[in-house]
Symmetry: C2
Subunit: 150 residues, 2 copies
DNA sequence: CGTTAATCAGTAATAGTTACCATTATGGAT
DNA sequence: ATCCATAATGGTAACTATTACTGATTAACG
């Protein structure tokens, strides 16, 4: 009756490849990596294992805003930062602040269990070329829409 | 050449319905509401308008973790809390803390532009029945997977 | 009014993910 | 070592949320 995770080669390789990385790959990126070692693995298997492994607490599933899920080979309470330019996700060495939950609980009727925080910005590789361009694009949009009747 | 938003009945009704709510509906929920007044409106029109209206700053698009986008008729810097039980999203009267961005910037190579924080927990309606059940389910999963070989 | 670009309804297409199912393989029990 | 229940797999279909396309309609300016 006690169902537990079996150690299959697919599961082991997924875990190994994820362990090699300090980045936070998407399911598809993991699929491509694992496929080099197990060419016949199916994408569904990767998804299923990432789900099971994160349920078991062996890896962490990051459900970032608005984008596809990403996975973290290390578990622990730290925040993440996503690059607006290239989409990569890094750890932030800011330890999770549990006191925030209590502060929030005082302000609401909810029973608060957790919070997640996500930072956005430009990574070192994208700062120089893209930050200016990004700002200009946003300004253009606002100008077009806000500035009317002339 | 200056393209600006026209006032169509569809756009007006979407904005009106969104303004009536203090909740944060999904595109589909807005579609259902608007459809009562404009039965022939298309879901694509709702999506297009929510996108345009949020670009113009008239409403706010919330890209919450792992779920579909939600929309906020009021703009302003506050955090949101999502109910684990029923999925509803409420405002939290905790003003956004800009100092967090600076603290994070010191710890990273990124040029940090923003952060978002999302709280999770049980809303008043879901606290009593579901919090216990939710905890038990999670415990069951962990027991099944972690507890092995016995 | 007439013109024209913005917008529309309807529908097809897309991306990411999950579900299904017949077959295979793992791991505890024999 | 072999057996066997069932967890896991590969392949594929289905699904959900969202975006893109298209020809018809309409708001807003002159």
């Amino acid at each position: 009756m006690t169902e537990h995770l079996r150690e299959t080669s697919q599961r082991r390789v997924i875990l190994e490849e994820l362990g090699k990385l300090t980045s936070h790959p998407t399911a598809n990126e993991i699929y491509e990596l694992v496929r080099k070692r197990l060419p016949r693995i199916s994408l569904g298997t990767v998804y299923r294992n990432l789900e099971l492994l994160s349920q078991s607490g062996l890896i962490q599933k990051l459900e970032m805003a608005g984008t596809q899920k990403r996975f973290d080979g290390t578990i622990g309470n730290h925040y993440h930062i996503r690059c607006i330019g290239c989409g990569r996700v890094d750890d932030l060495r800011l330890p999770a602040m549990k006191s925030i939950d209590e502060a929030a609980a005082d302000l609401s009727d909810y029973e608060i269990l957790w919070h997640k925080m996500e930072f956005g910005g430009f990574c070192p590789d994208c700062i120089t070329p893209r930050s200016k361009r990004g700002e200009i694009e946003i300004l253009d949009i606002k100008k077009n829409i806000i500035g009317r009747k002339d």
